[in-house]
């Protein structure tokens, strides 16, 4: 590596992950899928609701993983895309009586456009500077939602109440269970799409940009196009997660989509393992359940306890759930040899 190149390209902030290592083996995938399918039959509605939220946050973390793990760009602004998706669904459902299922693709398209447009100026920035720009987006979003001229649609600070859909065709299912399966189908579809995207030509282009921009452009990759495309796809998936979130929670308000959400999603990605798609669900579990555990340990110091737990995770398994999975695989391999 020449000195000149050192100056031009910084050391990649995201470790290069080979595309095969981004997914689970078929056997494990089917096992996880079966568990997700059967589980709701045995638990209370509240747990089903929590599982739905787990899938939804998992989807949002997955979206960030495509952006950061795939194309190597940082974003602290995912909460803004999530909010746009949630509000699109809420406004369409409550003001225009659009069916909830139809609002998801609309939210996806709206967010794709939003993300793609945001990706244009973001092209000039990289690394921490890009993170800062997206951070600004996340901070601005709750205030934008409170704007007076939007208030007629968004309900201002009061937010909007969303009606929860019943199970269709008279299925003997609670609203929570129906929504869980609905979410599960959407999440699986998007997961398969993401895996295929990253294995496709576009995915290879993303990864080439992540690993070395100059080399990628030398190979003929349109760096500008693929960078903005990654932003668009990530925003679209986040938007769909936001839509599902709005339906599950039955309420949208500016206070729901603050910078805290963006940081949580970022945290989920790191804990799950950057660039490892199945880790998204593990990361989502971390951001949903660990604060509850922390609160159980100490109410006054829940934030500090959460910090300590996070620190332990980062210190012991710096590559997150992916590292645990690899260790498990090696262990299983050893057992088989013996």
């Amino acid at each position: 590596m020449s000195a000149a190149e050192d100056v031009v390209t910084e050391a990649p902030a995201v470790e290069a992950v080979p595309k095969r290592a981004m997914t689970l083996g078929t056997g494990t995938s089917l096992l996880v899928l079966a568990a997700l399918l059967i589980m709701p039959v045995f638990v209370k509605n509240f747990i089903i609701f929590q599982m739905t939220m787990l899938l939804i946050y998992g989807l949002a973390v997955l979206a960030l993983n495509i952006l950061t793990g795939g194309s190597g760009q940082f974003s602290l602004g995912q909460s803004a895309f999530y909010a746009v998706g949630a509000y699109t669904t809420a406004v369409l459902m409550e003001h225009f009586n659009v069916n909830y299922a139809l609002t998801l693709p609309i939210a996806g398209v709206v967010c794709f456009a939003f993300g793609f447009l945001f990706g244009q100026p973001a092209l000039r920035l990289s690394g921490v500077y890009l993170a800062l720009a997206t951070f600004a987006l996340a901070t601005a979003m709750p205030q934008l939602l409170k704007l007076n001229f939007l208030e007629h649609w968004t309900g201002g600070v009061q937010g909007l109440v969303v009606t929860k859909p019943d199970a269709p065709f008279g299925l003997p299912m609670s609203q929570d269970m129906w929504l869980y399966y609905f979410t599960l189908v959407v999440v699986i579809a998007i997961y398969i799409f993401s895996v295929n995207l990253l294995r496709s030509r576009s995915g290879r282009a993303f990864m080439a940009i992540r690993d070395n921009e100059i080399a990628a452009s030398a190979m003929g990759v349109d760096v500008a196009l693929y960078k903005t495309l990654a932003f668009g796809v990530s925003a679209a998936v986040t938007g769909v997660a936001g839509s599902l979130g709005a339906i599950a929670v039955q309420f949208v308000a500016p206070d729901s989509y603050t910078i805290t959400l963006a940081i949580s999603l970022f945290l989920g990605m790191v804990v799950g393992g950057v660039g490892w798609l199945p880790g998204s669900i593990v990361g989502a579990a971390f951001i949903i359940f660990v604060p509850n555990i922390a609160e159980g340990i100490s109410k006054g110091l829940s934030g500090a306890v959460f910090g300590v737990l996070l620190f332990l995770v980062i210190y012991l398994v710096p590559h997150g759930a992916r590292q645990v999975a690899i260790l498990g695989q090696q262990f299983a391999g050893k057992l088989r040899k013996n």
Partner: protein
């Protein structure tokens, strides 16, 4: 077989007799989820973390108060099991915690959950589940809507009723006033403004000369004050939160604007607003209140205040006894205990709401003299009275009678 049935019949007859004799002694015991012979489970959701964590003191005061009640034998012999969760003031988290309380912990009711957005998020859920969302800790007017939301009730005077009281006073004492309004651009500010306009009625358009709003993100509101002064208004309606209220009082003095200054109750704290703004700048400001101020020497020998201070010393010594939140938590917890007492042995959710809507002239001794808590099946606003007060020297002086204003949501 016959013998067995005979025995069973005898046993059931005996049981029936016992039950009958028991029911003559006391009303029949009826329970919903969350209540038993020995325990009443109460849920609560507070922002212990996050931007609004200062309000967490309310939840901690309540926990301490229920501990006191339990040590003294509980309510009608039942201990209160107070389960309080953190939502960080984030509505989706509030929904999760509310569902956890209702479906997993199986509480009888959710009590004093804090904040307008978090409570809005669970409003529909609580009412469709028919679980009481009792005495919510927000002043929004929409909680007083028994027809559409019969399972939700507020506690503190709502924002609209406070400005209605100012409007009533103005119409009577200063009918030719030119009013300049400064309000925070959110639900709280708008609720206050609506109360003022409703209270002034037809004269609102002619009396209000300017409505100026500010955003919480603005570092200072000095420019707004200058603009208000330039309109030549002689009444200043100051609908701002503590930090901005202190700035406004200070700026008024700096630029020599001396209108009749109304300061909303939200910012009537001597410690966090008036003292930082300077006592000399705050003379003759008018406000309204319903609770006694711990810092006010007038209540030094007041039995109600003494009871509160003893409670704080014994059960919540680490808490700040001067904090407004502590005294609110104490007062609202006392109100809940009164409701549970009235419920007797009929601890169903329906009866809890029935009794909460059946408070007659109830007083917790931290309320200002003359203020009473009254509810009815059509009035879900427990405290709808306030007393006007004027700042003199280093404290608020009450003046005039108790004024009522009932506003529905």
């Amino acid at each position: 077989m016959l013998a067995v049935t005979g025995k069973l019949a005898a046993a059931s007859l005996a049981l029936a007799l016992i039950a009958a004799s028991a029911s003559t002694a006391s009303a029949q015991k009826k329970y919903d989820t969350g209540a038993t012979d020995t325990e009443i489970k109460i849920g609560n959701i507070m922002p212990y973390s996050g931007p609004a964590s200062a309000y967490g003191v309310i939840g901690r005061t309540e926990a301490a108060y229920f501990k006191k009640i339990n040590e003294e034998g509980g309510v009608n012999g039942r201990k209160i099991n107070f389960i309080s969760y953190d939502d960080g003031y984030s509505p989706p988290k509030t929904v999760e915690q509310a569902r956890k309380l209702v479906e997993s912990d199986e509480v009888l009711l959710i009590f004093n959950s804090l904040g307008t957005p978090p409570n809005s998020a669970i409003h529909k859920y609580m009412n469709s589940k028919k679980v009481p969302q009792l005495f919510v800790a927000t002043g929004a007017t929409k909680w007083n809507d028994p027809k559409n939301f019969p399972w939700t009730m507020g506690w503190q005077p709502n924002y609209q009723s406070e400005t209605q009281i100012y409007a009533k006073w103005l119409l009577k004492n200063k009918p030719d006033a030119k009013i300049a309004v400064l309000y925070q651009n959110d639900d709280y500010g708008k609720d206050y403004l609506k109360g003022l306009k409703d209270g002034l009625g037809a004269k609102a358009a002619s009396m209000i000369v300017i409505e100026e709003s500010y955003e919480t993100s603005e570092p200072t509101i000095d420019n707004h004050i200058v603009k208000l002064k330039s309109t030549g208004a002689d009444v200043f309606m100051n609908i701002t939160t503590p930090k901005f209220a202190a700035q406004a009082i200070k700026k008024n003095a700096e630029i020599g604007w001396k209108p009749l200054h109304f300061l909303n109750n939200v910012s009537a704290s001597v410690g966090s607003v008036i003292r930082p703004a300077g006592f000399e700048n705050a003379q003759d400001i008018i406000s309204a209140d319903y609770l006694k101020d711990v810092a006010d020497p007038e209540w030094a020998n007041d039995p109600g205040m003494k009871g509160f201070l003893e409670f704080m010393a014994k059960y919540f010594p680490e808490g700040d006894k001067l904090a407004h939140e502590s005294i609110v938590g104490y007062g609202v917890a006392q109100t809940l205990v009164q409701v549970l007492k009235q419920c007797g042995d009929d601890l169903t959710r329906e009866n809890v709401m029935k009794q909460a809507a059946n408070l007659k002239d109830f007083r917790t001794e931290v309320l200002l003299p003359g203020i009473q808590i009254n509810t009815s099946p059509t009035d879900f606003a427990p405290i709808s009275q306030l007393r006007l007060e004027r700042f003199k020297g280093e404290k608020w002086d009450l003046f005039g009678d108790v004024i009522s204003a009932d506003v529905g949501g």
